[in-house]
């Protein structure tokens, strides 16, 4: 029984000498030139732009906003929208494991070694990237309550109602936490049999009653669980599925490679959007701000 990988090597066609070039000079030359260009470019950049150096580290003076290095700002951005354990650790871990697992799931040899090798690869890439970027931006705008501010400003600005404010009945739609604070959960409590499981939505005892000294059996704060875990995770799982079903309905998806293209492109879109928002659009208190309004205060 020959493994798939070994078979793949064996089935390669015999080398055609005419189709080959010598590494020296053809490849070595290209490597040399690209290394040279990068050395010069970085030298020029370094001569023009200095690496930042702020005041000496002071544990008593916290800059506002405090930010991680730019390549972790996508995670710091996630941190604003969900439980820290999900944003900082579980989501990136799962993302990296899934990323590493792609070739074990998509084993089809078609489209190997060619840019955008399948028929609809271009469309899937553009759609995945664009749609993910837009959806992520909308979700960030919504969780930043910008739609509330914009609606209020527009209605006031048009003179329709000079002291209009977001209706209390729509408090649950202000942002993600609106699901927690904007809904009268307490009034929805009920009892199942003699087991008063849901007598208080904000402290549902998990596990067996009387054993809550174990940290694993602490009470579950349901509304907060909904807004900080259930909805974010359902969104992260659900949106890719919606994307795939949508493209399938359009007839763009025929192989696993197509699904991989779509999801990977969407991932790149989310990765870039969250990095850019976290880097350039988060001011004091991590509020959404245009880049030119961001000032770092030391407190």
């Amino acid at each position: 029984m020959v493994s798939r990988a070994a078979a793949a090597i064996r089935t390669r066609p015999r080398r055609e000498r005419e189709a080959e070039v010598l590494v020296w000079p053809d490849l070595v030359f290209i490597e040399f030139i690209s290394a040279l260009i990068f050395s010069i470019a970085l030298m020029v950049l370094s001569a023009m732009v200095n690496a930042p150096l702020l005041n000496r580290a002071d544990p008593d003076t916290t800059p506002n906003p405090s930010k991680a290095p730019w390549y972790f700002l996508n995670l710091q951005e996630l941190l604003l929208h969900m439980e820290p354990a999900w944003a900082g650790v579980i989501v990136p871990t799962i993302a990296l494991v899934l990323l590493a697992a792609i070739p074990y799931w998509d084993r089809d040899q078609d489209g190997q070694g060619v840019w955008f090798g399948t028929k609809f690869a271009g469309r899937l890439t553009v759609f995945g990237f664009t749609a993910a970027t837009m959806v992520t931006s909308l979700l960030i705008i919504w969780d930043g309550s910008l739609h509330v501010i914009w609606t209020e400003n527009i209605i006031r600005g048009l003179g329709l109602n000079s002291d209009f404010s977001w209706p209390g009945g729509l408090d649950w739609f202000r942002n993600l936490r609106g699901f927690d604070t904007g809904i009268p959960w307490e009034s929805l409590g009920f009892t199942i049999g003699g087991f008063t499981m849901f007598e208080d939505w904000r402290a549902i005892p998990l596990g067996i009653p009387g054993t809550t000294t174990d940290p694993w059996l602490l009470n579950l704060n349901f509304p907060s669980f909904l807004s900080q875990q259930l909805i974010p995770v359902a969104t992260m799982v659900g949106l890719p599925i919606v994307f795939v079903l949508f493209c399938k309905a359009l007839g763009w998806i025929h192989t696993r490679r197509d699904i991989a293209l779509l999801i990977f492109s969407a991932f790149i879109g989310v990765y870039l959007t969250t990095t850019i928002v976290g880097t350039a659009f988060r001011g004091q208190g991590q509020d959404l701000k245009p880049p030119w309004d961001i000032v770092v205060l030391e407190e």
Partner: protein
């Protein structure tokens, strides 16, 4: 004694050529002649420890710039540049809370080309992250992770993580407000991990907050621990590129 019986007189260029490439010392270093014939060109690659990462011949499509944009090679080149500038920076830097910030200030103002050296190291580090990401995208969009290259893609993902960790550990070293609070935010995220969060954070920082212990840990990881690990993974990565049949191309 007739002049006609002598060998034809060498041109000046040939004399210089022989003087440089055919003397005893040169030939003790480079076993092959100057690579101006196909045979010597192949030998030049095959007998040189640095060049022999390459095969001697490759498929025509692999030297097309638009096939790879040299992204993997440039990521490696950034690593080399970072090693060189990093070693030079180590001459001037002591990883103690008392001296670290002072040393960076002194490097910028008192050391000739010190500021340039630090800038190079920083911008190369950023460039490496971007290049590694772009390289990953290139490999993905050309379908180059497909069998038989599955495992090398996994090694690539590990290299990406190690690149981020190298940059992250280096971020603390200047010991300024930017460094201190970025690492505080970053390690707080680690601390929020379920079950092992607090333990991981303590292990990383050598304490409950960013302090002298964290500085020496990050420094050690940055200058020796992670570079060693990433070198091993890079060796495997490059080796596997060769073993798995070079760059991916249509079957």
């Amino acid at each position: 004694m007739s002049n006609l019986e002598r060998a034809p007189r060498k041109s000046f260029n040939d004399l210089i050529y022989d003087l440089i490439f055919k003397n005893y010392v040169w030939q003790s270093i480079f076993r092959t002649g100057y690579p101006n014939t196909p045979r010597n060109q192949m030998l030049a690659v095959a007998t040189n420890v640095f060049l022999h990462l390459h095969p001697t011949r490759i498929h025509r499509t692999h030297v097309k710039i638009t096939h790879t944009y040299c992204l993997g090679g440039l990521s490696f080149f950034m690593f080399l540049g970072l090693t060189v500038t990093g070693v030079l920076l180590m001459f001037y830097y002591v990883p103690s809370v008392e001296r670290a910030y002072q040393d960076i200030q002194a490097l910028e103002s008192n050391v000739r080309f010190g500021q340039l050296l630090r800038n190079m190291h920083r911008w190369m580090a950023h460039a490496m992250i971007i290049l590694v990401l772009l390289h990953m995208m290139r490999v993905f969009y050309t379908g180059a992770y497909k069998p038989p290259r599955e495992f090398n893609w996994v090694v690539g993902v590990v290299l990406f993580i190690l690149t981020l960790l190298l940059s992250f550990t280096g971020y603390l070293l200047p010991w300024d407000q930017l460094a201190f609070w970025a690492i505080t935010v970053g390690t707080t995220m680690v601390g929020s991990a379920p079950v092992l969060g607090d333990e991981s954070k303590f292990l990383l920082l050598g304490g409950f907050s960013v302090g002298p212990n964290a500085l020496i840990r990050f420094y050690t990881l940055h200058v020796i621990g992670l570079p060693l690990v990433i070198s091993i993974f890079m060796a495997v990565h490059f080796w596997r590129v060769r073993r798995d049949g070079g760059l991916a191309r249509p079957l």
